[in-house]
Symmetry: none
Subunit: 252 residues, 2 copies
DNA sequence: CGCGGAAACTTGTCTGAACAAGTGCCGCGA
DNA sequence: TCGCGGCACTTGTTCAGACAAGTTTCCGCG
């Protein structure tokens, strides 16, 4: 039984506007309808409409100043967040062909490290996924994920070789909101070396990830190991101005 | 004549709360005062307080769900730009004692890699600096920098063991403005291993840097190699919101 | 003592209103 | 014709109130 409630009005307004922008109905640079017009169109009060506009502003979709109607800024924003979350999407954006092979998916007691990162007791059941990621057929990254049971459960009725785990979770109503990534280097162990077709002990670029949902509850602990000759991380910094540092993964 | 207007109330509320969080007055995990309490404290209406809380929420500073008071998610963070630029300042902010030993400072023809990064011809004179950086006396990072001659020249009337090269350049009117950092992993070579007191071939976390001044001219190419057991990079991502991801270096 | 449920409390959503502040345009006057 | 003032329109800020929905607390009943 799916609980099917109509989403809040300000969400519907925001979604509708997002849709018009992404459909090109509101082209880049075009001014949005005034708040008063939106109020009338959606039968909402101004506060509600402003709430929707604030959301779009946050996403960088619209900009504009006082006295002037808001203006469409850009159609598709590649959130840096996605960069780390969806290997599939990232690869395609780079013009490479993503591939993957699920080595293992299992329900077992959390390891010391994973339990610690998820705030669980060691041995609490979690769902572990071990996937080998390919770029144009070349083994590129090894992904070890531990999901808390509440979320990982959703993965058993899903073919992990089909596509993005995150996209599937999103569809199931899990909304990954924030993540903390820790980047370091580590030597390849026997398993790493075997799957990534490199020598044991070879340096790997490691990204460990702790993802949380909207409530701040920890949902996933991940350990991704990249071949540093194939993937690097890039950060752009600007001292003055308010350009946000951009994080990119790049292939070489 | 400075136009001194009092900022909007919801900004003042948000700033005050941000301050309490970064001062540790509201520790991580602690619940914020309820909206009603904040209304009374600031003499604001609930709408205004909610506007302030919404700002903090999409900065990722607070989280929480309906029915529960919002919870402090993470403390405020340092300026990401400085993080990569000044080892000295970063170390002190971490409460560690920075140290350094200048292994070499020389004027010589640029290597292939450095020339490429600086947009020079191979063999064009550059100033190269090789410094070993210490944390609490422990060799932690090996820094190889190549400065274009115009800037590097300023380094000869400066004691590189005294403190920050960047601070000195800033004093000399060189205005480092932007940088692109590329992060990967690499095995330690003989020199690295010797200076960092690790085994040859051990994995190192490498950050390569291309810094430009205000005019966009390339000024420095750097290759920093960190012991991954001592230093990691951390990136915080929040999905909604236009908030810049924060990049941190952390010691372990 | 334990458990269920009601009550109190908290945040989420929405409305309607008012004033301030910034922008753009139109028309009047020089 | 040109310039400038003012008006109409827009967004920004703030308030007060109402109901919905989720959480916590606590009391009374078994």
């Amino acid at each position: 039984m799916v609980k099917s409630v109509t989403p809040p009005l300000h969400h519907r307004v925001a979604d509708e506007l997002r849709g018009r922008i992404s459909r090109g109905q509101l082209p880049v640079g075009a001014p949005l309808p005034s708040e008063a017009q939106l109020c009338e169109e959606f039968g909402a009060s101004r506060g509600t409409v402003r709430q929707a506009l604030a959301a779009l502003r946050n996403e960088g979709l619209i900009g504009g100043g006082q006295g002037k109607p808001p203006v469409v800024r850009q159609a598709a924003v590649a959130q840096p967040f996605e960069t780390f979350l969806s290997f599939t999407r990232w690869a395609r954006e780079m013009g490479r062909e993503p591939g993957q092979r699920t080595v293992e998916i299992a329900r077992r007691g959390a390891s010391q490290v994973a339990a610690d990162a998820l705030g669980l007791d060691e041995g609490t059941p979690v769902i572990e996924v071990l996937r080998l990621r390919l770029l144009d057929g070349i083994p590129t990254m090894l992904e070890r994920s531990s999901f808390v049971e509440r979320v990982g459960r959703l993965l058993f009725d899903f073919d992990p070789d089909a596509g993005s785990i995150y996209a599937h979770l999103q569809d199931c109503g899990v909304d990954l909101r924030a993540a903390r990534h820790t980047i370091d280097a580590i030597g390849a162990n026997e398993v790493d070396a075997d799957l990534l077709t490199i020598a044991p002990g070879a340096p790997l670029l490691r990204e460990r990830r702790r993802a949380t949902d909207a409530t701040g509850a920890r949902v996933e602990y991940g350990d991704d190991r990249y071949r540093p000759d194939l993937v690097t991380f890039t950060i752009d910094n600007v001292q003055t101005g308010r350009v946000s540092p951009h994080i990119l993964k790049e292939t070489s």
